[in-house]
């Protein structure tokens, strides 16, 4: 049993700047995704579906919406007496400050890590969307006797992410080289920032690095130690995407619409993606509606046309309105005869009657939370 063997740690804030428009008032972890989820749901569900029952979320800023979303951890079955969900915000104790990188984030949570009894730690960044068998990855880590195992994906490198590692392996999947260049054009094996390590080793490495005032785990720990540490890669063959810009956020969503295999892998009933429920009624399709090729959450009322789009909970598409190639977040209202194309609207946006907004496939338009257009 994984239970009590592995501790989970999520960094909901570390790459906030990559999605700066969407993280103005929230952490990366609470960015809405896929019609009814927040990004953190994917990391949390992967951990929980692997049998992990103790998870720390090291928060930094803008985490009120994250706290509301996570609340007691009930949707992930993490409201436990032993273990469960721990939100670790700054100023929570003498050590925790507003951190800048993984190392000082972990340093601020050192009490939590020290007081845990699990043998291993899995660390996840919140800007990765995937659903894979993490239990198998943990088993592999134990079997290979690796010091560190990092999940990777083969494909085109997410280029906006400055600190993204790409790997060279030996024949046993041991990492022989870590590159941080974002110039690589052809397919490569890039990190999903999901890392398994022994808890005691993590404590040791973090204390070492902090004593040198280092903050960047990739540059200050993994890269210089690629020879000393046995770092192994673990390939995620399922759909997996790293969000590194608003554009990549839109592209990943489009991929989910276009690619039934991606959808099936992300939303498998074997490992459900768990999230907070909202008590919406089913979505109501009106008499005159025309909907196709779209992912739609509950609580919408659709009287107009929706094509190749994602509607979050509680969206209203009025009669005569046209929504094409859009991502429409919670509780937006698209007025009568309005027309939007290649637009991403944050929560509570109102597109007024007759208004037209149009982005381009290469340049989707983003509309801020609560805007009235």
């Amino acid at each position: 049993m994984i239970n009590n063997l592995v501790l989970g740690i999520i960094f909901p804030n570390v790459h906030d700047d990559l999605l700066s428009e969407m993280t103005a008032n929230r952490s990366m972890g609470s960015v809405p995704f896929g019609g009814r989820y927040r990004l953190i749901d994917f990391s949390l569900s992967n951990l929980v579906n692997a049998g992990i029952s103790k998870v720390g979320v090291i928060a930094k800023s803008n985490y009120q919406s994250l706290m509301d979303h996570l609340s007691s951890g009930k949707p992930w079955d993490l409201d436990r007496k032993k273990g469960g969900l721990f939100i670790l915000p700054p100023y929570g104790n003498g050590e925790a400050r507003v951190y800048t990188g993984h190392i000082d984030a972990l340093q601020g949570a050192m009490n939590f890590i020290n007081n845990s009894t699990e043998q291993y730690v899995v660390m996840c960044d919140a800007n990765v969307v995937s659903n894979f068998d993490m239990e198998a990855m943990i088993d592999s880590h134990i079997k290979t006797g690796a010091d560190v195992t990092i999940a990777y994906k083969r494909g085109k490198l997410p280029k906006n992410h400055r600190d993204i590692m790409s790997f060279q392996f030996d024949e046993n999947s041991r990492v022989t080289e870590i590159l941080l260049s974002n110039k690589i054009e052809k397919d490569c094996d890039f990190s999903l920032d999901i890392t398994i390590i022994e808890r005691n080793m993590l404590i040791h490495l973090i204390e070492e690095a902090s004593s040198r005032n280092q903050t960047n785990m990739v540059r200050d720990i993994f890269q210089p130690n690629v020879k000393n540490l046995k770092i192994y890669g673990w390939e995620v063959k399922n759909f997996a995407a790293v969000m590194d810009s608003t554009k990549s956020y839109v592209n990943v969503t489009e991929e989910l619409l276009k690619n039934p295999t991606a959808r099936k892998q992300l939303f498998t009933s074997e490992r459900p993606v768990l999230t907070k429920t909202r008590d919406d009624m089913p979505t109501k399709y009106g008499l005159s509606c025309d909907v196709s090729d779209s992912l739609i959450a509950d609580g919408c009322i659709i009287e107009g046309t929706v094509k190749s789009s994602v509607l979050f909970r509680g969206v209203r598409v009025s009669a005569g309105a046209i929504v094409e190639n859009c991502i429409v977040m919670q509780d937006c209202i698209i007025g009568k005869n309005a027309h939007i194309n290649h637009v991403t609207t944050d929560k509570n946006v109102v597109i007024n009657e007759g208004t037209s907004m149009c982005g381009a496939p290469s340049y989707p338009v983003f509309i801020k939370k609560g805007t009235n257009v």
Partner: protein, 405 residues
């Protein structure tokens, strides 16, 4: 001891045998409704929205699924340290054991439960109706009138009155007579089976009723009549909104499709009166390129590639390309294969309608309109390829390919 003003007791023990195959393995209050609800969500949500946080649910028929559905009461915010929702099955005492004999006996057997909360009033509810009602208003009227019992009543069309329990009232709203299914009804005020009692009075009459070996221990047949004949103060509480008994296949089907009727006021999305439910984890619904959906309710987990019109799809329903669903209710996990057509039907959980099969008929296509009715496919059954199920058929076993019924 802390006092609870009002304890609600929800009668959820009935088999609901007129729902046939739908209640073969689950209790009637656990029957799915409206795309993501169960019937019991309505009284439970009404309770919490009315500020009543102590609810006993009386079960005895196939309670496993209902018990699990209610669980700790969390979805209805009814998981409380003091109060909350409690499932109350029949049990053995040191001297003997009894199943619940009638509605009144079910409450009688749980006097100990009620007394723990030391309530002033007890609200009796049933788990068979779809409606939104503020019980707090009813309790307020009960208090202000100084009544011993207040019964919620609904105006029904006079021609249907003889199917109901009819309350005959004085001008001040006090009830002077109760007639169960009268042949010649004097009024059209039908009892909704919702009662507020002052607990002391109710306890007295429950004990009286229990000691009468001839009584069938039923509220409508025994307790209410004997309170009336003893001249206790009985008041009617008038209710004018949507209310539907879902005791038959046709009324269950109607009550579902009422949600699609813009003329009928039953808003399940009203933020001031949410209807809560326990929902499974399912991804957003996907409406494919070949789909054509109109005037329907569809919920998370569905995938639709075919035509859906005037229908309700529960979670994880799969409609293949080329399939057609009209005027029907498709319960969780069912699959309608390509070329199949489902009309005027209820397809229960996880049933499979294979390729080119036909289920149900439009009334206008039936030879004998007298015999027309909604068809029902039982949970988990498979209807074979090219099979045909005519109108008004209840399918309780797998149907072979090509078979006609």
């Amino acid at each position: 001891m802390k006092k609870t003003e009002c304890v609600a007791m929800l009668l959820a023990g009935g088999q609901g045998s007129r729902l046939g195959v739908l209640t073969q393995r689950i209790a009637k209050p656990a029957v799915p409704y409206g795309g993501k609800y169960r019937i019991i969500d309505f009284p439970l949500s009404n309770c919490i929205n009315s500020g009543i946080d102590t609810v006993g649910v009386l079960t005895q028929y196939q309670p496993l699924e209902l018990n699990d559905y209610i669980g700790s009461g969390k979805p209805w915010d009814l998981d409380r340290s003091n109060g909350g929702v409690h499932v109350l099955p029949p049990f053995q005492r040191s001297k003997g054991a009894d199943w619940y004999k009638g509605t009144a006996n079910a409450i009688y057997q749980n006097i100990t439960f009620i007394e723990r909360y030391n309530p002033e009033y007890v609200l009796i509810l049933s788990g068979d109706h779809i409606y939104k009602m503020d019980y707090a208003k009813m309790i307020k009227q009960h208090k202000e009138a100084g009544a011993d019992c207040t019964i919620a009543v609904l105006e029904v069309p006079m021609e249907e009155a003889s199917r109901f329990g009819i309350m005959n009232c004085n001008e001040d709203g006090s009830i002077y007579e109760f007639e169960e299914k009268p042949k010649k009804p004097k009024s059209n005020m039908a009892s909704m089976g919702i009662y507020v009692f002052s607990w002391k009075k109710l306890k007295y009459y429950l004990e009286q009723d229990e000691s009468n070996p001839k009584s069938s221990n039923d509220f409508g047949k025994n307790v209410i009549p004997s309170m009336l004949s003893a001249s206790e103060k009985m008041q009617a509480f008038h209710f004018n909104d949507y209310w539907k008994d879902v005791g038959t296949i046709d009324s269950l089907w109607e009550a579902n499709l009422d949600l699609l009727n813009p003329k009928i006021e039953l808003d399940l999305q009203d933020p001031n009166w949410r209807i809560y439910s326990r929902t499974p984890s399912a991804p957003p619904q996907y409406i494919g390129k070949t789909a054509k959906v109109q005037n329907s309710l569809i919920t998370e987990g569905c995938e639709v590639y075919g035509k859906v019109d005037f229908s309700i799809l529960f979670e994880n329903v799969y409609i293949e390309e080329g399939a057609q669903v009209n005027d029907s209710i498709i319960m969780p996990g069912a699959r309608i294969c390509s070329g199949a057509s489902v009309q005027y039907a209820i397809v229960a959980e996880n049933a499979i309608i294979s390729k080119n099969a036909k289920v149900g008929e439009r009334p206008e296509n039936t030879s004998n309109l007298q015999k027309w009715g909604v068809s029902v496919i039982g949970a988990g059954l498979t209807i074979g390829e090219n099979a045909e199920i005519h109108a008004n058929v209840m399918v309780t076993q797998n149907i072979e390919a090509g078979e006609k019924l």
